[in-house]
Symmetry: C2
Subunit: 155 residues, 2 copies
DNA sequence: CAAAACTCTGCCGTTGACGTAAAGGTTGGG
DNA sequence: CCCAACCTTTACGTCAACGGCAGAGTTTTG
């Protein structure tokens, strides 16, 4: 995202955060960050020479994404790995797409692939929203009945 | 719900299901049903003289509700206990409301109480739906971009 | 009425997502 | 240079939501 090379092994751009700061800003614990890394969900953008993890803003975004997928969609970390993998793949595709060397046929295939990934996820989310909407409809009906009763009898 | 007394201790109305049948119909395990009972979420409507659990259709509905609250809203069983408690309370209120002996002032109070309970839950659900909607909007934007690219270049 | 099938109450095991503590290495201010 | 604060890996602990088994009792079926 920044112009830097892929996963800097050298010391940091100064803008990178230690695990403590990153955890605080992301609203999770250090343990969680290490755990996500252990599962291959999130590799810190850098390490110091001494071996300490350094997190970028993009890394924080990724943490936020993980939490969102957890709490909003109720996915477990393995499923989240798949979704994030898809999103990473989409970025790769984007890169290849804008590469001059990619021929039109391949470009089309890449677009279709990322479309498939996004559409698939959309299905999951839409199903969930539909169920939630039903839930809300029932709830609103109940609230409406009570409100009407109140209005009729005690206005 | 049926005309029977509260939580029949005697033998069953014949329409009640054994734990095995109930579990199969509800799509959960017997262990889960016993666990829900242990947590006070679901007391089987009856027991045989020998002490075996008997589940009614209403019990099955309750299981479905529990699962819904779990998967849809991501509540844990303790939180579900609260929600179900509120719903039970609403039923009590309903009963008292239609009781001749309840005076108007009390009736109003009862209505207001159940309104508060329902409205509170609605808040939780609505927040979740809003978050999901945002999620969907982002996703749709991404899909739209890809689709447009496809249409422009490869129509 | 007996065998087969089902269920009962413990009670210990498992899985996911971390928590927490130990024993040491790294970093930055004075 | 030194020390306090922060970080490292390693490894065992925890909590929710059940899974699964043993040993005994119950219900059903032939």
């Amino acid at each position: 995202m920044t112009g830097s090379s892929v996963t800097a092994v050298t010391d940091c751009d100064e803008t990178l955060l230690s695990i403590g700061a990153a955890a605080a800003r992301a609203g999770v614990t250090e343990r969680a960050l290490r755990y996500y890394q252990e599962l291959g969900l999130l590799n810190p953008s850098g390490r110091t020479k001494g071996g300490m993890r350094r997190y970028s803003e993009a890394d924080l975004q990724r943490v936020a994404r993980i939490r969102e997928l957890q709490t909003l969609l109720g996915l477990n970390l393995d499923e989240i790995a798949v979704v994030l993998g898809n999103e990473d793949r989409t970025l790769q595709i984007r890169a290849a797409y804008f590469d001059e060397a990619t021929d039109p046929t391949e470009r089309k295939r890449l677009l279709l692939e990322s479309l498939a990934l996004a559409t698939d996820l959309r299905g999951t989310v839409e199903a969930k929203r539909a169920a939630l909407d039903d839930f809300l409809t029932d709830l609103d009906a109940r609230i409406e009945r009570i409100t009407t009763a109140l209005a009729e009898k005690f206005n």
